[in-house]
Structure formats: structure tokens, C-alpha cells
């Protein structure tokens, strides 16, 4: 429990629990953006049922989402690899706590990336709004 000095990089005040959630939030934003784009295009803009620019838009969202997830995941990897602690990060030290949060961030980034790729497959399989 005894904390390092507040200026030390491993002090808890530098740690952000919500960083864990960044990759899944990017996945959610990608899904919602893709869904909204397709829904609005198919409901209001298309005349012949074609998807027009929707597939390009989803492709662009996918590249952006994967870039964001990679950034978040690499940050997690850096924290995970810092120092000599290794998984399962079950010791009562600031280093293990730091490494654990990094490790969990990496895992969630991996899952989010897979889920984004799953969603992006729609532009491979769908040629029109039907």
C-alpha cells in the first residue's frame, strides 16, 4: 500500500482506469458510424438500392478505428513491458499494478481489433442495400 512519491511515474495518480476502455469504445464508434451511414444512406439517399459511397466510408472508418486501437494497444504494451514484472501481475507492487493495466489494455485492444475486422467484412459481402 505504501505509495511511491507522487512525482514517480508509477504513482497511482498517473494511472487511468478508463484507458482500458478506449479500444472497445473505438469499436463501438466504428460500429455506430458504419450503421448510421448505411441506415441514413439506404433510407434517404439511394435511388436504386446501390450502396454508393457507403462501402468506401466504412473502409475509411475501419482504417481509422484500427489505427486508434493500435495506438491504444501499443501504449498498453509499453506499460506492460516496463520493468521486470511479468504476468500474471499478481504481486502487491506498483510495478505489477502498472503492468497488469497495460496487459489488460493490450488484450482489449486485440479483441476490439478483431471485432472491428468482423464488422468491416460487410463491405466484402454486401453490394447493395437489400
Amino acid at each position: 500500500m505504501n505509495a511511491p512519491h507522487p512525482s514517480h511515474p508509477l504513482h497511482e495518480r498517473h494511472e487511468r482506469l478508463w484507458r482500458l476502455a478506449i479500444s472497445p469504445v473505438i469499436w463501438g464508434a466504428h460500429l455506430m458510424a458504419s450503421y448510421a451511414t448505411a441506415a441514413v444512406w439506404c433510407a434517404r439517399h439511394t435511388r436504386d438500392g446501390s450502396l454508393g459511397p457507403v462501402r468506401w466510408a466504412i473502409a475509411a472508418y475501419t482504417v481509422a478505428a484500427l489505427a486508434g486501437i493500435a495506438w491504444n494497444g501499443l501504449g498498453g504494451l509499453r506499460r506492460h513491458r516496463r520493468g521486470t514484472e511479468s504476468p500474471p501481475h499478481d504481486f502487491d507492487t506498483p510495478g505489477d499494478r502498472h503492468g497488469f493495466l497495460g496487459y489488460a489494455t493490450v488484450l482489449l485492444a486485440g479483441l476490439s481489433a478483431v471485432a472491428v475486422l468482423f464488422a468491416a467484412l460487410v463491405i466484402v459481402f454486401f453490394k447493395d442495400c437489400r
Binding site: 500500500m1 476502455a21 472497445p24 460500429l31 482489449l108
Partner: protein
């Protein structure tokens, strides 16, 4: 085990026996519940949790009896045991009771009992909020379940699709559902607030975020999901009730509405809800498996991934309930992909459990029987889930008994079996006695066999084309034998439940008290002696490990002898520690509320509003709402933000902590923030409705239709002024400039009132009639929502003024104004978005 150098150590010497006895007497005085009829004023988490759990089990049995009635009706073709109309009520109430009165509250009930014990806390930070939640749940539950005895129950299916539940069912059933469950959702959100803050802020010192029990991770995720999943349903229920009571056509195509909006809002709640049920149940498995494998969990980090990942992905699945509504194929594809992806984190945790069992040596026990049986059933349900996530297969299986089989495999395997396992596991912590191994084994085999005999054939019944929700079927279509088998299985399953129920209630007076920590578990909830003392944990320990009972030397002795934190209750009041989010550094010695009936009165008054509202008795409903406001203000005034006699307190181990904290370090600030996140989500759901209509109609918003931009813009400007003045008031209070504080809050109140009036004048003066078309209706709803929040802001401002006038708030003790300022941030955001939508959006289209 490696720990940080310089960690505080328990007191090296045994405290004198006389001192220990005196400390224990004082702790007992503080924590013993009142006797006689006053017992029901108790608010301590253990007692409220036990009432909650017992009530939940009664509702489970009630829902089970309804299921048996349905199975009797379907046992043979052309049966007339239940009339069609009765059958509709029975299946609607069965589904609703199991979801809203059993599965979700079971999570809350179990968590309220055991979460504090797992975290080493004496209680959760807001015990009265838990008690209030329980009373709301009991009242709403009785109202709903009781309706079936008056032939007045809802009968539109547990997901209440309009137009069936609007135009075609004008009777009171749907109103009971909509208002009754909205009331119960208040309880769910109250529990979520309590549990989130419990996990983040009430852990034993030293329990870093990488050391918390996995149960706490799951509870954190599930409670956070409640905050974002329930509000869309509350918003949807508000719209549907407005349509039913006042004819505002949100779901009626004749006025430009669309029933599909209900499906979106319902399933935005309904799918995450499945995981809100599943995650806390699998969390129980995560606590039991290491105990019986005798090794720490394998893949702690992976299970955290699993819990958090499932929590997020489950919000991207709702459209898979709507594959047959005619949405564009590409939309179906997106949600089909997400539905497949969620199988990954769901599977990961199961592999971790298997790995843990393989790494250790599993000891045989009743809890493990139920756990393994449950996982086997759940995996089958998960596999059919992957099948129905494929849109083209779902088109065939939709609305058939295949789906009934799938959802029961998921929920019974994923929730009920683990919960029964947990009953057998945790029961000694309730009254110091174990349940019977023999009865448990019999119950397991009856339930496991009965369940599979009942539900496995339903896959085939469904694939052969039998639709759900039909009250009978003709002979010779291939359904007869399968249905009879299902009915036989249902009764075997019910016999298993009967055995469990008997084991729970059978007299145990002659049975010896269980040994302490009978399963030799490693986590903190197993600290109490048998039978447990009312204080929970004798002294709050310093944690160095995920399994302190296994790893920390002399741990139980040091806790029992009071060598750790807070070994005493020198003021004879209930106290617990508040710690930091990441490393659980002690930050505050928090006095928690003691017994009071105010929670019951608040629930009765609020319940009156919803129940009278159901019958459209508006005068008593409004009186009840006013009474609820009065009781809640009285509750807050007398029990929250109290200025303690001592500014700091010695909590032992050489640590002295403040007794009063305000702002983001305080649990109250977190509670307001979390509640407002849920509230804001409901508002966003209404905004979603506005844009949903825009995608439907080329002329939405209709050209030239109100509310114009002048009044709304003026209203928003006034409300923003009110917000700014409240912030000024907070600053004036902090600097102890009383005249400025009072003037700022008075001016803020005046601006808020004027802003609310201006917002109403927009649609009013432009003659928008909410019964005529959906644009007018949704504009009025958004405006009314904002004005209602401004009105609450006014009450809060006046409350702060009164607190300061009464000497209960000061520059240093500023909890109230800090929380009110936080609330006003949300009012300002709501006002800006409302005006941008209702006045700004028509300008840009």
C-alpha cells in the same frame, strides 16, 4: 509473494483481552440490527441483501409455477387447460418475472450481501440507498405479479411490442408493465450506483486494482452496463405510456410514428440485459473454481478482458433481435458480425476456468456439480446463439421454439445453475450452517436431467415450425411427442427446484455449526467466524495478495485480534474506510447511515406515483410524487452531508484519516456523477428517437412547424446563465463569501425558472399539438425533459441555500454545493442539445 517495501504491518503485539472485549462490545452495539418490528428499519447490506435474495427466490418460484401451467397446457394438442387469453397473461408474466424480478435483482441481491465482504468493507457506502432499492423492488414486484390474480396482467409478451400493446390492448395490463417496471428500474439503477462505488472506493487498504477479486470486476462491468442499458427502456416506456395515456403517436404510423423505434429502444436494453444477468453469475463461478481447484485462477487478466470485452460488445448486438423487421442487409451484417465476435470473450473465460481446474486438483462438491452442469448447458446455449446470430438462419428460426430453447439454455445454464451453486457455497456465511450435500446432489441430478429433457426437444419442435406464444396446436404436425417430453422434463426440473427450496428452508436447529471457512477458500468473504458477527470484518485488513487467506501469514489471527484498521467503534456509529481507486490508499473514515424507516416511506410514496398513475388517478399520483419529494428531502437533510464532531480520526496502524470529504474524492460526488450518466443516457435515447423519425420521413421536421428558434434559444441562454451562477455560488461558498453565494443561487434559480418557461413557450406559441403528429410529440418530450431537469436544479439550489442558512454547509463542508454544481453541468448539456435538436436541426435541413 512479493509486496512493496514499507507496507504497513499489523500491530506486532496481541491487544489486551480486556481491550479486545471492549472493542467488540462497541462494534456489536453499532452494528447489531434493531429488534422486534423495528428490525425492518435495518439498512445494513447483509440484512437487506438477505431480504432481497429471499424475495427474489420467491419470485423465481412464482415464475416457475407459471412455466408449469404453460407446460401443462402444451403437453397435448388442442388442450383447453388454459384459455388463450389466460395463456397470454401467463407467458408474459413468466418472462417478465424471470427477467425483471428474478434474474437482474438476483445479481443485485447477491452482490449487496457479498461484495462488501469480498472487498473487506464493513458496508457499502450508501446502505439506505440499498434499502430504498429493495423496498421499491418489493412493492413494484408485488404490484406486477399480483395483477395476474385479478385477470389484469400484461399480455403482450415480455417485450411489449406496439402496436399490439398500444392500439390493440387498451386494458390496464400494458400500463402495469410500463409503470411497474419503470419503478423497479429505479431500484436497479440505485443498486448499480452503490455497487460501482463499492468496487472503486470501498476496498480494503492495499487491495490494488490488480488484486481485486474477479467478482468485483464482473460487478463493476455489469453495474456500469445497467447505467447504459436501462435508460433506453425507461425512455421507451415513457414514450409508450404517453402514447397509451394521451395519444402521442410515437409508435403509431397514423401520426408518423413507427413501432420499430420501440424495438430499437427495447433491445438496446434487452440484449445487454442478457449479459447483465450472465456476467455476475459467471463471476460467482470465478470465485468458486479456484477454491475447489485449490489454486489461484489461471488467466486473471484474460478474465478481466472477458468481462470488460463482453460488457462492451453486448451493446452492439441489439439488432440481432430485429433481423426480420426489414432493415437493410448491410445493417444486419454489421450486427451479425458483432454477435459472432461476442462469442470470443465469452469463450475465453470458460477456457480459463477449465485451465484452473486442470492446473489444480478439483475436490468434489455440490457447488462444483452445479457449476460444471451449468457451464455444459451454457456452452450448448452459446453454440445455438452463434447459429441464430447468422441472419439467414435466424430468418428461419425466428419466433419459433428454437429461440425458446436457445434462450433457456443460455439463461438457465449461465445464470440459474451458477446461482444455485452459489447458494450451496455461500450459505454458511448466512447462518453458519451448511446445506445438505445429499439433498444438493439429488437436486442437481433432477434439475440437470429435467432441464435437458424439457428444453433439448424444443430445438426440434422449433425447427419443425412450432411458433412461440401459441396457446395450443393441432395434432399430427410432429409436435406432439416433443411437447409431452418437454412437459415431463419441466416437472422433473421443478422437482429439483423443490428439493433446493426445501434444503434452504428446512429447520437446521439441530445441525452443528459449520467450521470456519468450510471450503478453505482464499478470499476475504470467508473471514467471518461461524455464525457471523454483525460487524462483517473484525478489523479491516491490509491486503497483499489476491488470495489473502492462503498467502498472508497469520492473517485470520491478525484480523480477529483487531490488529488491522478500524478495530473499534469508539463513537458507537457504523464506519467503513474509503480508499483510492487504483491502489486503495485509505482516504476517508466514512460514517455510514444506520437503521431508518425513511427508505420504506420514500419507496411507498414513489410507488404511489407509479401505481396511481397506472390507473390514471392523477390527483393521488401527483400527491404521491410530492410526498416522495418531501420524504427524500427529509432523508437527505437528516442523514447526508453531516458535519462530524472530529475532523480526523485515528483508524489504527498509525493512520489518521479525514471524516468529511467533498468534491471528486467523496463517494457522494461519484454517486451523483454515475446517476447522471444513466439519466443522460435516457435523454440521448429520446434524441435518437428524433433522428430515427428523420430517417423515416422526407418531410421531417415538417417545414414551417414550430417551435421556431427565438424562444428555445432564449431558454437555453437563460439555463446556461443559471448553470454559470450555480458555479459562481460554489466558488463564493468555497471563499466563504456568504452574500455572494446567496445572491448567485437566488439569481440562478430565477434564471432557471425563466429558462424553463421560455423553452415551453416555443412549442406552445407555435401551436405544436403532440397528439397530432410525431414531430410535435417528440419536440414536446425533449422540451419537457429539459424543463423537468431545470426544475430539479431549482430544488437543489434552494436546498443548498437552506443548508448554509441552517449552518449545515460551510466553506470547508461543501459536499452539497459540489454535487449540485455537478448536476448543473448535466442540465446545461441537456439544454444545449435539446435546443440544438428542436430549433437548430430544422434550420439546417
Amino acid at each position: 509473494m512479493k509486496t512493496t517495501a514499507g507496507d504497513p504491518h499489523p500491530h506486532p503485539h496481541e491487544p489486551a483481552p480486556a481491550l479486545r472485549r471492549a472493542q467488540e462490545a462497541r462494534l456489536r452495539t453499532a452494528w447489531t440490527p434493531p429488534r422486534g418490528w423495528r428490525y425492518w428499519s435495518e439498512v445494513n447490506n447483509t440484512h437487506v441483501g438477505i431480504w432481497y435474495t429471499a424475495t427474489v427466490f420467491l419470485f423465481l418460484l412464482f415464475g416457475g409455477v407459471l412455466a408449469l401451467l404453460m407446460r401443462i397446457q402444451l403437453a397435448v394438442p388442442d388442450n383447453d387447460f388454459l384459455a388463450a387469453e389466460t395463456y397470454n397473461q401467463v407467458f408474459t408474466v413468466h418472462g417478465s418475472v424471470m427477467m425483471f424480478l428474478f434474474a437482474i435483482p438476483a445479481f443485485e441481491a447477491i452482490a449487496v450481501i457479498f461484495l462488501p465482504q469480498m472487498l473487506g468493507a464493513r458496508d457499502l457506502p450508501f446502505p439506505r440507498l440499498s434499502a430504498f432499492g429493495y423496498w421499491c423492488f418489493l412493492l413494484g414486484g408485488l404490484f406486477l405479479a399480483g395483477a395476474i390474480f385479478f385477470d389484469a396482467a400484461p399480455h403482450g409478451g415480455w417485450f411489449m411490442y406496439p402496436p399490439l400493446t398500444s392500439r390493440y390492448q387498451p386494458d390496464i395490463g400494458a400500463d402495469i408493465w410500463l409503470l411497474g417496471f419503470s419503478f423497479i428500474e429505479v431500484a436497479a439503477i440505485a443498486a448499480a450506483v452503490e455497487l460501482i462505488i463499492g468496487v472503486l472506493k470501498c476496498r480494503a487498504p492495499g487491495m490494488r486494482i490488480n488484486l481485486i477479486p474477479l467478482y468485483a470486476w464482473y460487478v463493476l462491468v455489469a453495474a456500469a452496463m445497467i447505467l447504459f442499458a436501462f435508460p433506453p427502456l425507461i425512455a421507451g416506456s415513457l414514450l409508450l405510456e404517453l402514447e397509451r395515456a394521451f395519444g402521442w403517436p410515437f409508435f403509431d404510423p397514423r401520426g408518423g410514428g413507427d413501432p420499430v423505434l420501440w424495438q430499437h429502444l427495447f433491445w438496446l436494453f434487452g440484449h445487454p440485459e442478457v449479459y447483465i444477468i450472465f456476467l455476475p453469475s459467471v463471476a460467482l463461478v470465478a470465485m468458486m473454481v479456484p477454491t475447489f481447484a485449490r489454486v489461484p485462477i489461471v488467466g486473471y487478466g484474460w478474465i478481466v478482458l472477458s468481462a470488460v470485452g463482453t460488457g462492451f460488445l453486448s451493446f452492439g448486438l441489439w439488432v440481432h433481435h430485429m433481423f426480420t423487421t426489414g432493415l437493410p442487409g448491410i445493417s444486419l451484417g454489421l450486427f451479425s458480425a458483432a454477435s459472432e465476435a461476442v462469442a470470443i470473450p465469452t469463450g475465453v473465460q470458460i477456457f480459463c476456468f477449465i485451465a484452473t481446474l486442470a492446473a489444480g486438483r478439483m475436490t468434489r462438491s455440490v457447488p462444483m456439480l452445479f457449476t460444471l452442469g451449468g457451464l455444459a448447458i451454457f456452452v450448448l446455449g452459446g453454440l445455438t446463439g452463434v447459429m441464430v446470430a447468422v441472419a439467414s438462419f435466424d430468418l428461419q428460426a425466428h419466433d419459433t421454439f428454437f429461440v425458446v430453447a436457445h434462450l433457456h439454455y443460455v439463461l438457465v445454464g449461465g445464470a440459474i445453475f451458477p446461482i444455485v451453486a452459489a447458494c450451496y457455497y455461500f450459505f454458511p456465511l448466512i447462518n453458519g450452517k451448511k446445506l445438505s450435500d445429499r439433498l444438493g446432489t439429488i437436486a442437481f441430478w433432477l434439475m440437470f436431467t429435467g432441464f435437458n429433457v424439457a428444453f433439448l426437444p424444443m430445438h426440434l419442435t422449433g425447427l419443425r415450425g412450432m411458433p412461440r406464444r401459441v396457446f395450443t396446436y393441432p395434432a399430427g404436425l410432429g409436435f406432439d411427442g416433443l411437447n409431452l417430453a418437454s412437459t415431463i422434463g419441466a416437472f422433473i426440473l421443478a422437482a429439483g427446484f423443490g428439493v433446493v427450496a426445501w434444503d434452504l428452508v428446512r429447520p437446521k436447529r439441530r445441525q452443528p455449526i459449520s467450521e470456519r471457512n468450510p471450503w478453505r477458500a482464499g478470499t476475504l468473504e470467508w473471514l467471518p467466524g461461524m455464525p457471523p458477527e454483525p460487524w462483517g470484518v473484525r478489523s479491516i485488513p491490509e491486503i497483499d495478495s489476491r488470495y489473502p487467506l492462503w498467502d498472508q501469514p497469520d492473517f485470520v489471527r491478525d484480523v480477529d485480534e483487531g490488529r488491522f484498521f478500524l478495530p473499534d467503534a469508539d463513537e458507537l456509529t457504523r464506519e467503513t474506510l474509503v480508499t483510492s481507486v487504483i491502489d486503495a490508499r485509505p482516504q476517508q473514515c466514512l460514517r455510514v447511515s444506520g437503521p431508518s424507516f425513511v427508505t420504506l416511506w420514500a419507496a411507498l410514496a414513489l410507488g404511489g406515483f407509479f401505481i396511481f398513475g397506472t390507473f390514471h388517478w392523477w390527483a393521488p399520483a401527483i400527491i404521491s410524487a410530492a410526498a416522495a419529494l418531501g420524504v427524500i428531502v427529509y432523508w437527505l437533510w437528516t442523514a447526508t452531508g453531516l458535519i462530524p464532531a472530529r475532523a480526523t480520526k485515528d483508524v489504527g496502524m498509525g493512520v489518521s484519516l479525514p471524516t468529511y470529504v467533498s468534491g471528486p474524492q467523496s463517494v457522494g460526488w461519484w454517486a451523483v456523477f454515475i446517476t447522471m450518466l444513466a439519466d443522460f443516457t435516457a435523454f440521448v435515447s429520446l434524441v435518437f428517437g428524433y433522428f430515427f423519425y428523420w430517417t423515416l420521413h422526407d418531410d421531417f421536421p415538417p417545414a414551417g412547424a414550430g417551435p421556431g428558434w427565438r424562444w428555445p434559444l432564449g431558454g437555453a441562454a437563460l439555463l446556461l446563465g443559471g448553470w454559470g451562477l450555480t458555479l459562481l455560488g460554489r466558488r463564493a461558498n468555497a471563499r466563504d463569501r456568504a452574500p455572494l453565494f446567496y445572491s448567485a443561487l437566488a439569481a440562478s434559480t430565477a434564471l432557471a425558472a425563466a429558462g424553463g418557461a421560455a423553452l415551453i413557450l416555443g412549442p406552445w406559441r407555435s401551436g405544436l399539438d403532440p397528439t397530432k403528429d410525431v414531430h410535435a410529440a417528440i419536440v414536446w418530450v425533449l422540451v419537457a425533459w429539459t424543463v423537468f431537469h431545470a426544475a430539479i436544479g431549482i430544488v437543489m439550489n434552494l436546498y443548498c441555500v437552506a443548508r448554509r442558512l441552517a449552518g449545515r454547509m460551510s466553506a470547508r463542508h461543501a459536499l452539497e454545493i459540489g454535487n449540485v454544481a455537478l448536476y448543473w453541468h448535466f442540465v446545461a448539456l441537456t439544454a444545449v442539445i435539446t435546443v440544438a435538436v428542436v430549433a437548430g436541426f430544422p434550420l439546417v435541413t
